[in-house]
């Protein structure tokens, strides 16, 4: 028996958001008395890093240090509306809403600072280090905390802003079926290398190499970790995971966490990726989405690699050892010389 190697490739276009007329996000920003900018959202951070990238986007637009921004995603009962974290939409949609809110809040912040510095708001700028200064004479400056205190206790103003992002519903052209279903599209291509053990039907994914075109990256390290985590999850779907029974009777369905097969660290393939940044026109700072697509393209790439290795086209996943052994019976690569009767 042999170990067969194969290579497979798959590419994906991934839509960011779903423009079916009901997919808006909103954001509210206010400064506390001491100059912490609280960004209230109903969007959820599942671990993909939404809070981090939204704080980065908010800080950049406000012109304040990252540390001065606090993301509050506490409660969908009380927060501004958000449709949720899905379709790789959150950084794009929520980011746009936050930019709008931050611009409004920044305007108030500069107006208050202008009063304190006896200058015109148009002549002021932020240094990103926590100060507001008069353009051309950087020694005339005031720190954000002092501005926030003055706003609250001297001028009775709220340094705050409202933001929303909605893309109007795109109707379907009855003639052509044409519509505009998403906000922007990210792209990726994955090449998988596998080794198939023809005796056991086991597949080892040797490597997953990919190129991702995701618009501008707000946080390249988080993008990289999404790609690695997604590659692993894609491999898991391709080879292991299913809630359906392996045999016709539902009795054979995985009934608990311990029976639901997922791979572990030993199955981690070599993962390599390059990221290309083509800014999107309508994303915040050129962002597209990168979350969900990372788990998509590895699946067909791995299955194509298995097909390439064994010479039989496979169309259903997970590709379990049993499916491989059955397919191998049809494989031209394993045709044994016809046995002659003794």
């Amino acid at each position: 028996m042999a170990k067969l190697r194969g290579t497979g490739i798959a590419a994906v276009n991934y839509p960011t958001g779903m423009n079916l007329g009901g997919d808006p996000s909103q954001a509210l920003i206010h400064a506390t008395t001491t100059g912490t900018f609280v960004i209230s959202l109903s969007s959820t951070d599942l671990g993909q890093g939404l809070k981090t990238v939204i704080a980065q986007i908010g800080a950049e637009t406000l012109g304040v240090p990252f540390e001065n921004v606090l993301i509050d995603t506490a409660d969908t009962d009380t927060g501004p509306h958000c449709m949720g974290t899905f379709a790789s939409r959150a950084t794009h949609r929520v980011g746009n809403a936050v930019i709008m809110a931050a611009k409004e809040a920044r305007k108030v912040m500069l107006e208050v600072a202008a009063e304190e510095l006896e200058a015109s708001p148009d002549d002021l700028d932020t240094d990103g280090q926590g100060n507001i200064y008069v353009k051309g004479s950087p020694e005339r400056k005031i720190d954000i905390t002092s501005v926030a205190l003055a706003a609250h206790f001297k001028y009775g103003r709220s340094i705050s802003g409202r933001g929303m992002y909605i893309k109007p519903k795109s109707p379907v052209d009855p003639e052509t079926g044409k519509m505009d279903p998403d906000s922007t599209e990210a792209h990726a291509c994955v090449v998988a290398e596998v080794e198939v053990d023809t005796e056991t039907g086991e597949v080892t994914v040797l490597s997953l190499k990919s190129a991702y075109e995701v618009g501008c990256q707000v946080n390249p390290a988080l993008v990289r970790e999404q790609i690695i985590g997604g590659a692993f999850m894609g491999m898991s779907h391709a080879l292991y995971e299913t809630t359906a029974p392996y045999y016709p009777s539902p009795d054979h369905a995985p009934g608990s966490f311990s029976e639901y097969v997922i791979p572990g660290p030993h199955e981690l393939p070599h993962i390599e990726s390059v990221v290309l940044e083509y800014p999107s026109v309508n994303g915040p700072y050129g962002v597209k989405g990168v979350g969900e697509m990372t788990a998509n393209a590895p699946i067909p790439a791995i299955i194509n690699a298995i097909s390439n290795a064994i010479g039989v086209r496979l169309t259903e996943y997970p590709v379990t050892p049993e499916k491989i052994l059955r397919a191998l019976e049809r494989s031209p690569k394993l045709k044994q010389p016809a046995q002659t009767g003794a």
Binding site: E225, I228, F232, M233, S256, S258, G264, P265, H266, L268
Partner: protein
Amino acid sequence: MASRIVAFNLNGRDVEVMVKPLTTLQTVLREHLHLTATKSGCRQGGCGTCTVLVNGEPMLSCLLPVEDIAGQQVVTLEGITPVEGLHPIQQAFFDNYAIQCGYCSPGMIMIIKALLDRNPNPTRQEVMDAIAGNVCRCTGYESILRAAEDAARRLQSA
């Protein structure tokens, strides 16, 4: 059956809890003592999020009746977290992006602590073997392996 008092040492302090028979250490930690760093992923030994150290050995607290550890030393993630800052393994997780949703992290950190306590300079294979019973749904494990290796370096140079 009647409740009884079980005494053990938790994170360096003696504690006593009143429990029904077969109450697990996980339930005692999370529900009686409100120490929720120890997670509850599956409650059947399949995920590793509930890993704690009992006399320095990693154990799944969801499978462990608290009566069985009477008089013994239990350490949870709370117990290794300093009042200020982070434990070197926690810091290594943070710096290597080894936390996404974070649900696996307490169990991962405890199992890696158990590994590094007995093997301060493990190979990648040894780290993989150690964490093989701990499920991570988010990271793809790579950052966790990196974090474990980084933590080993930090602890050795500390």
